[in-house]
């Protein structure tokens, strides 16, 4: 298998804008929305970028990890801030699994004598 024969290519990140090729109206709506979401608001653009970095790790999107690692650095975030954001994502992800164990607990109790 050639080295390029994989689903993920760093080069593809730059082509994100091309997703409008076959459905421009919907793509435009998405990108307008995306732009508004990340603008300075009640949260600063830098805070939003750190949230995006955390979410990128939770959804494990390599494109978003690439983009938001760069973006948080560009916005002047410290390495400590990057890693704290990533841990927030990891903690929620771990917690989300564990909190479901309450359901298992309920079931165990329901089934037990």
């Amino acid at each position: 298998m050639s080295q390029n024969n994989t689903y993920y290519h760093p080069e593809d990140l730059k082509k994100f804008g091309n997703i409008g090729e076959f459905q421009p109206d919907l793509a435009k709506k998405f990108f307008d929305y995306y732009g508004s979401v990340f603008a300075d608001g009640a949260l600063s653009a830098k805070e939003k970028s750190l949230i995006a970095l955390a979410v990128a790790h939770v959804v494990q999107c390599p494109y978003c990890i690439d983009a938001y690692t760069t973006d948080t650095l560009e916005k002047g975030a410290t390495e400590e801030q990057l890693w704290e954001a990533i841990h927030v994502g990891a903690a929620i992800r771990g917690g989300a699994s564990l909190v479901h164990s309450v359901q298992a607990l309920n079931k165990v109790k329901e089934l037990g004598i």
Binding site: K14, K46, K75
Partner: protein, 347 residues
């Protein structure tokens, strides 16, 4: 770290640097900077006048930062002579020029630096010095510099890549951050950067790697909060600068495998409104030997001014105003994102 020149690196040659930038551009299908300006109707690029005379008084420096576009270092010997400084002063007397911007290297290491400032001060012009901070602590010879600056109401512009030690030292050398903070505290002590003192201390931020500087105002408030909280340091404004893909930063980009993507990023984030305000339009740059350039970057790339006047001794405003500014692919560094100039973001 030694300079590229002292290491005998091929990158010490401006021709080689320009060749690399043009090779990457054509391999990646990136448009010429000139074409980009043509698209927005700004080619040829013309000066709006000469408000600022930026004089590079030499390549000698007490530091050797990894991103230095001058390839300055303790091993560089080029310094401007007193005669050439005198020629700069004659040009500076021109009524249109409001500001003298002294840069280097570490400009304070030029043996005639103080004399130059004193003479410029007599002309009543605004004087800026690009001070690398650590020079203030570099020994007896430089001890009185903050007081000297204050006496002549010199505006001090100092590079501090980051408000934390790790990223600053990685770029500027071990121990630079601590010494920079000490120098900032000294400047603060005599009133620099303190509201109401009239003594201006501006800091320059540049990214610690192959990424662009983000929003200048957010960075400024982060710097102000962090430096005040941890070190009691105050300053007036922060200028965010893009690292230029030339000289030692070019070396870093090549060695780290970031050159293609960095150049692509500069091109894809081209900002037309930044292009209108690039600093070469109102600045004239003088090299240590009196040669003239459109900016300090063109100076380091050996791209002498186009037209009849090529030396400061032949200064002639009308002829200089009529010139076309020389442009190459590095110019994308001035127009990326929020834009970049000696005074920070442009848009």
């Amino acid at each position: 770290m030694k300079s590229l020149l002292a290491r005998g690196s091929e990158l010490a040659s401006p021709k080689e640097q320009l060749r690399i930038l043009s090779e990457v551009s054509s391999r990646k299908g990136l448009p010429l900077f000139e074409e980009k300006l043509q698209e927005i109707g700004s080619f040829p690029l013309r000066p709006t006048g000469i408000d600022i005379l930026q004089v590079n008084v030499g390549k000698l420096c007490n530091q050797s930062c990894k991103h230095c576009h001058v390839d300055a270092a303790p091993d560089r010997k080029e310094v401007m002579s007193k005669e050439t400084m005198q020629e700069c002063l004659v040009a500076l007397a021109s009524p249109n020029i409001t500001t003298l911007d002294i840069t280097g290297g570490a400009p304070e290491m030029n043996p005639n630096f103080k004399w130059f400032v004193e003479e410029a001060s007599k002309l009543g012009k605004k004087i800026l010095v690009r001070c690398n901070l650590t020079i203030v602590l570099a020994g007896e010879k430089y001890r009185g510099l903050p007081e000297f600056f204050a006496k002549h109401r010199v505006e001090v512009i100092s590079s501090l890549p980051y408000f934390q030690k790790r990223r600053t030292d990685a770029q500027r050398g071990e121990g630079v951050f601590d010494r920079s903070v000490q120098a900032l505290q000294k400047l603060n002590e005599i009133g620099y950067g303190i509201p109401g003192s009239g003594l201006i201390l501006n800091l320059v931020y540049n990214p610690g790697g192959a990424f662009l500087p983000g929003g200048q105002s957010t960075l400024e408030s982060d710097f102000k909060r962090e430096l005040k909280q941890h070190f009691g340091v105050e300053f007036n404004s922060l200028f965010a600068l893009t690292n230029m893909p030339i000289s030692r930063f070019l070396e870093f980009l090549l060695e780290s495998g970031n050159l293609d993507s960095y150049l692509e990023k500069l091109v894809t984030t081209f900002n037309p409104s930044a292009a209108a305000g690039v600093m070469c339009r109102n600045t004239l740059s003088v090299g240590w030997d009196g040669s003239l350039y459109d900016c300090d970057f063109n100076q380091m790339l050996d791209m002498q001014l186009e037209g009849e006047v090529t030396k400061i001794s032949d200064f002639n405003q009308a002829s200089l105003d009529a010139r076309a500014i020389r442009l190459e692919q590095h110019c994308y560094g001035c127009t990326a994102g929020a834009g970049s100039s000696c005074g920070g973001s442009l848009a």
